[in-house]
Symmetry: C2
Amino acid sequence: MPFMAYGILALLRVATDGSAPSAAPTLTTAEVLAAAKPEEWRAIDPENTLYLELASGRVVIEMATAFSPKHVENIKALAREHYFDGLAIVRSQDNYVVQWGDPNHDDVPDRRPFKAAHSVPGELVLSAADLRPFTPVPDGDVYAPEAGFAAGFPAGRDPATGRGWLAHCYAMVGVGRDNDPASGNGTELYVVIGQAPRHLDRNAALVGRVVQGMELLSTLPRGTGPLGFYEKRDQYVPVRSMSVASDLPAEARVPLEALRTDSATFKALIAARRDRREEWFVDHAGRVELCNVPLPVRRADPR
Amino acid sequence: MPFMAYGILALLRVATDGSAPSAAPTLTTAEVLAAAKPEEWRAIDPENTLYLELASGRVVIEMATAFSPKHVENIKALAREHYFDGLAIVRSQDNYVVQWGDPNHDDVPDRRPFKAAHSVPGELVLSAADLRPFTPVPDGDVYAPEAGFAAGFPAGRDPATGRGWLAHCYAMVGVGRDNDPASGNGTELYVVIGQAPRHLDRNAALVGRVVQGMELLSTLPRGTGPLGFYEKRDQYVPVRSMSVASDLPAEARVPLEALRTDSATFKALIAARRDRREEWFVDHAGRVELCNVPLPVRRADPR
């Protein structure tokens, strides 16, 4: 069947067009990952993990605690006061974002109260120095002077200004806010479900990445109101709960591991994606963009 | 509500950070389009239009007849012999593609026969000279020396080699093939539903773009088999029919217009998307990537 070969065949070929700097053969993703050493995988910390529970299943979010600690702290506080339980996904905009929060957000008397902070300023822009160790993607980037990965997250850096920021790639989780840039607090969260909206970089705090269950969000019916908001209440997708994974008993958690983005294997994966050598390809890009690099995650207890 | 302001407010502001070369105020997309002259819109030719009919509704595809004429001709021939009617969407891979064709493709005795050509070589790579008039996107591109738009389609060009090609942006329609690069014939078609897989550029013939109904494809349940293929027959999404729009009576067609990509208004839209001045934004990218530029389409008979 057409396309079946794509990504499945595991032919070893030596890169000969000069686009791959290494003389080593370029491997498929599966081959690269099969050669990873155990210590190149890191356990995803349950204390930095959110479970968004829907009727369709569980969405697992790794929080960017190292980069947006204040927002993450507030979201965890919200989760721990059960703020999200019974709220809803209220927006699904094609090729853009899915968003959840309080359907009564605009209706003050009916709005759900919460004890956590109502405003968490900052963390829209980080320091480039915070993004270490930084594994660069070598082929340039339209939106950032430097692009790469830090501690499992896609990021941009500007050496000229010393600024750094997390990047709005597919599956990244951000904090909705009003026009006041300090108005975000984590009660409204969105996930990127389409072409990376990188113009949002440095305009919204990114607080995590969906590491399992993206398909539960990306396939939701699109809202027909402006910006993809659902127009009718019965279209809302109920949020059963959103909780910090470490608050659940161990047997109720899903143990996940992520490939370390400062590992030799992740660097080999970037090289392999720049120069795809599966037999299907006839013309080799020799380049890869930040948001096209996969961030491998696996069960910690392989079944 | 957070994010509601995004794209809705219509404040006029003068770009002052030097990123927009024009001294004119930078407008929102809605404002740019509202100022378009009637002649800057072109009717989408029903002879170059496919209707993919699903139980959930109609997907409208504009064919890239100017760029991939042989593949388009074959797909139209297939449609006119009713080849696709009763086949199915067989693949939905998250952040990648949705694909339809013959579920029995790999099973020779049960495979659906067809009279159209069984092999349509070429059209993986075009000539840069074919991509005229070319409206460039000025901020560079990871995958192509030059990026821009020609006759309504995103494209790349390489002045050094004289080559040009259509680009795998969201909603682009391509021809699945086996490892033999001449094996594509249009019986298996895919649509990009995620981050632009630009490494497929020059490896698969692109034959069109979904101009209406993308949400009917992008929200399909993901397949759980390798590459997102559905594993069970009852998961297939039936294709009621796929036909050339001009073969339908006028009253059964949906008259659409596309903004000409060689128009002043489209160039103004690129400028506006490079430098978003809606009040929500606090940090202005001053840049835009090829696949983040919208390609406006509207009903020809505004309701």
